[in-house]
């Protein structure tokens, strides 16, 4: 490997590239919009009025800051490093997704857009988008794969309650990637009035950087809270990675602290040795999908393969471009946890801490179940508990063969 950069936090460059990743691989029809968005976001980012409004909504509407909770019984059970949970599950709507949605809808209003669209996998981003759209009185259409609609029924109903229209996507594998295809098709057909709120740190520039910026509130808080509680930084920071928005938000503020190890955890579904997984960084290769160059699950001919995970939010054959770059740089290490591992972590955290985690977040917990016992007791781990698991109780019951 070459000499590391002076900072891991300077990306992307002016063309939206993180090293060889990212960029703006979109239809020409969308280019003027993407450039518009980039200009509008750059202006908003430096505008104290915008940042002030966002901060006040994050406090009073989302309920930030979210606690950094010392998981004593989990720590004792695993018998190694001391484990903290960054409680994004306690946010309004139950996950980290709202941090980004709030930022983007404020930007949409600033740009005079009057119609909101979004894609969703687990439904958490769809719910968060429907929520902010309701709050600001904008019509909202959420694209969701038929398969995901089936396994995330509670969230589908929540979106409807919030006044959003959920459009089932029947093409392809009928999951998150297809929902994103469909949302992009909607955007291209409704360029004049529509703002596309992308939920992951993926898509064409400026989305990966913008979503990251809105999510770094997670890492900034964690950093400050850890310094306050322990007077030092954690030794290890862990988050699950699907598209990678909670992870990049958690990781980014720690990237230039060499003493902090950073682990991303992908979903290995039925196992890395099978064809049924969603471990894009671990098993994929670079390619171009949904507006950016990044790692993808694809065959030799560049056809996109279907991802699989018990968790709909990780069931995506791509990953945000900044993660691809961080992997190649070696700054972040990426691991994986299987459906089975995640289920075990889901139940363990529920029983030991009284916290039912989202199946997505359970992947991060599963990784810590393996790592913490290998670490000394004076070491500190911070896990991003990106969401709560209420939405998952049906799929978990199903996986366990129980009827509710």
């Amino acid at each position: 490997m070459s000499v590391p950069p002076n900072s891991y936090r300077n990306g992307p460059d002016i063309r939206g590239h993180f090293g060889g990743y990212g960029g703006r691989f979109v239809a020409e029809t969308l280019m003027p919009l993407v450039l518009d968005l980039e200009r509008a976001y750059a202006a908003a980012k430096d505008d104290p009025a915008f940042q002030g409004e966002l901060a006040s909504m994050l406090r009073d509407y989302v309920g930030r800051e979210s606690p950094l909770y010392a998981a004593e019984r989990l720590t004792a059970h695993l018998g190694g490093a001391k484990i903290y949970l960054k409680r994004e599950d306690l946010n309004h709507t139950g996950a980290h997704k709202i941090n980004n949605c709030l930022g983007q809808i404020l930007l949409a209003r600033r740009m005079g857009k009057t119609r909101i669209i979004a894609e969703t996998g687990a439904g958490q981003h769809g719910v968060a988008t429907a929520t902010v759209a309701a709050r600001y009185g904008l019509p909202c259409i959420v694209y969701m794969g038929e398969v995901d609609i089936e396994r995330q029924k509670p969230n589908v109903f929540r979106m409807k309650l919030l006044g959003a229209e959920v459009r089932p996507v029947t093409s392809g594998s009928r999951t998150l990637k297809d929902a994103m295809n469909e949302a992009l098709r909607d955007w291209v057909a409704n360029v004049h009035d529509t703002f596309y709120i992308i939920g992951s740190a993926a898509g064409p520039h400026p989305y990966p950087a913008m979503v990251r910026d809105f999510q770094t509130v997670i890492g900034h808080e964690t950093r400050a809270q850890m310094l306050e509680k322990e007077k030092r930084l954690p030794d290890l920071v862990v988050a699950c990675v699907g598209g990678g928005s909670n992870a990049i938000g958690m990781f980014h503020p720690f990237l230039d602290d060499p003493e902090v190890a950073i682990h991303g955890v992908e979903a290995s579904g039925d196992g890395l040795e099978t064809a049924r997984h969603a471990a894009t960084l671990t098993k994929g290769s670079p390619g171009v999908l949904h507006g950016a160059r990044s790692y993808l699950l694809q065959d030799r001919d560049g056809q996109i393969q279907e991802a699989h995970s018990i968790s709909a939010g990780l069931d995506y054959p791509g990953v945000g471009p900044e993660h691809a770059w961080l992997k190649d740089q070696g700054r972040v290490q990426y691991f994986s946890a299987s459906d089975k591992d995640a289920l075990e972590a889901f139940m363990l955290l529920s029983k030991l801490e009284g916290i039912i985690p989202a199946l997505e977040s359970a992947h991060a917990v599963a990784h810590v179940m393996r790592t913490a016992p290998q670490m000394a007791k004076d070491k500190l781990i911070a896990i991003c508990l990106s969401g709560r698991g209420d939405k998952d109780v049906f799929s978990v019951a199903n996986a366990l063969g129980e009827r509710i």
Partner: protein, 275 residues
């Protein structure tokens, strides 16, 4: 002179617009796809756009998406797309052929190797929907090396500043997307296109073809009066889909009959008309 420039020059001499059919390579399978491709010039095709099948085409409507999937299920790969072109070129040295599609299959193939192999197979140009000028250098450079045109899109959202970016480095011809949207959805509005053509013609000498939403001979004629080429895609693909259970010869005959009607409408549009 490239096959593309030569063809547009000939058409101009005769005051005719080009009829540009689009089909997906290997839809519904390699052999039928080849039979269709070979029959297109006789049906009046002046230039052919051949779609590269892709699993996740963002810019396409349901009709073209389904055709890509049929081709993929029949085992099409980019290697086989080039093989199809090679077979076509055995008997047709004159009709320009442009490959259209998404970037990822080319990225996986390797851009430099692809440009070389495509040129060798007899491809004349590339029309890659998710490579805007900001990102197309990676393909434009090897393409130029092998004499391939990289055709660029102009859309209703292209303002004056954007047009400057698009025109700089454009070659072959321009593809004007008649509406902001995906392939094969709304019908084309000739009046809207007319305004844009006037704007474009003042700024470039490149021929301009118009596509997206041209489904009937009347629409083809309307566009033929104002543009250098009329691209018909989904309307043809729809007929491939609808007739795919027929015997190969019958199916090809059905599709070609429709192409012939569209070609005639395109070619006859200007006679005694406003031009």
């Amino acid at each position: 002179m490239s096959r593309i420039s030569q063809r547009f020059a000939e058409l101009k001499k005769h005051d005719r617009a080009a009829f540009v059919p689009f089909i997906t390579a290997g839809d519904p399978n390699f052999d039928t796809g080849l039979a269709l491709l070979e029959a297109l010039p006789q049906a009046g095709a002046d230039l052919i756009e051949l779609g590269i099948p892709f699993s996740d085409p963002m810019a396409d409507g349901p009709v073209n998406q389904a055709s890509y999937l049929r081709a993929l299920e029949a085992g099409m790969t980019l290697v086989k797309v080039l093989e199809l072109v090679r077979r076509f070129r055995k008997n047709d040295k004159a009709t320009p052929l442009v490959l259209m599609g998404s970037y990822n299959p080319i990225h996986a193939f390797g851009t430099a190797r692809f440009a070389r192999d495509a040129a060798e197979a007899g491809v004349d140009g590339l029309l890659i929907v998710d490579l805007p000028p900001e990102e197309d250098e990676v393909l434009r450079v090897p393409a130029a090396l092998h004499g391939l045109d990289v055709v660029r899109f102009v859309t209703p959202t292209s303002d004056a500043k954007r047009l400057r970016t698009i025109l700089e480095g454009a070659s072959g011809y321009l593809y004007y997307v008649s509406m902001a949207g995906i392939t094969g959805t709304r019908g084309v509005q000739a009046a809207e296109v007319d305004d844009q053509m006037a704007r474009l013609k003042g700024r470039t000498a490149l021929p301009v073809t118009v596509g997206f939403g041209i489904k009937t001979p009347e629409q083809a004629a309307d566009i033929a009066r104002i543009a250098d080429g009329v691209v018909v895609g989904s309307a043809i693909v729809e007929r491939i889909s609808a007739n795919r259970t027929l015997k190969r010869t019958q199916m090809v005959a059905e599709v070609i009959r429709f192409c012939g009607e569209m070609a005639k409408a395109t070619h006859d549009a200007r006679e005694g008309g406003s031009f």
